[in-house]
């Protein structure tokens, strides 16, 4: 049941571009499926905890980047959005790192 209004939604993309985008979406979807299988497969390898964490994080980061760049269109987004997200990423890293470093810092503490 298609609506009978006049023109297609006017944005910066045109119909042909959308077709190209859809091809990308499907490619990304397949990649995500493969990487999901990989994530689970790697967990059966019985790696040491540091190795397991590293590999899992790398795979998750790749998957997450695909979702962000292509499904969320970040790769073609405006600089302002990128700037906000980079700022957020810096504070995110600070939030993850500084507490654990502080709690485990033993320099200058005896015993």
């Amino acid at each position: 049941m298609t609506s009978d209004h006049a023109a297609a939604p006017m944005t910066s993309d045109h119909a042909a571009d959308i077709d190209k985008h859809v091809r990308v979406y499907i490619t990304v979807f397949v990649a995500l499926m493969v990487l999901t299988v990989a994530t689970v497969a790697v967990s059966y390898l019985d790696l040491s905890v540091p190795m397991a964490v590293t590999v899992a994080l790398i795979i998750a980061t790749v998957k997450g980047s695909l979702v962000a760049c292509y499904f969320m269109h970040l790769i073609s987004e405006k600089k302002l959005i990128h700037a906000v997200l980079i700022l957020t990423a810096v504070f995110f890293v600070a939030l993850i790192l500084l507490p654990i470093l502080t709690v485990n810092d033993s320099f200058g503490i005896d015993g």
């Binding site: 609506s3 297609a8 939604p9 964490v53 994080l57 302002l80």
Partner: protein, 196 residues
Amino acid sequence: MDIPYAEEVRPDTGLTNGKIAIWLFLASEVMLFGALFASYILIRTGAESWPRGDTLLDVPLATFNTIVLITSSITMVMAWASLMRNRFGTYRIYMGATILLGFVFLTVKYFEYSHHLSLGEFPSTNNFLAVYYTMTGLHMLHVLGGMVVNAYFWGPGATLWKTNPVWFTNRVEHSGLFWHFVDLVWIFLFPTLYLL
């Protein structure tokens, strides 16, 4: 009174108000979940012992759920792409699929939680479970919230397509951004809790 740049982009920024707003909101959500990940790291590294995720949790079920959520992400972006291609009917199908897949995700989680609770595995039992319930619980609330918004755009909100297709498409895109973010969090949450 009309607020400018709700539908059309502002020339010098190239953005609509809604696009900026949703990304700002997602930035705050990154910090929200970031705090939970930071907490997990602190508690786990300070613990005498910590069970491997797959010893306590159902990995095949969660893998299925991961596939469900990723699939819902592509149906979500296809819903938006359908609107861009002026195919409202196809939009309805993809958006409906997204909502349905979200419902499947929640159902699976319901069974997971019930199973754990029936075994006496409560949040208070140990910190692994406390972290598990809290992180997946908050994530679930976000899935539910996304579904409610999507349901609105599938149902009563869809009348906006007739009067203002551009604005409607933008709003669906913004809802999609939230939905993809929820998927993104799960992409990190799944290996962290279930596999490590």
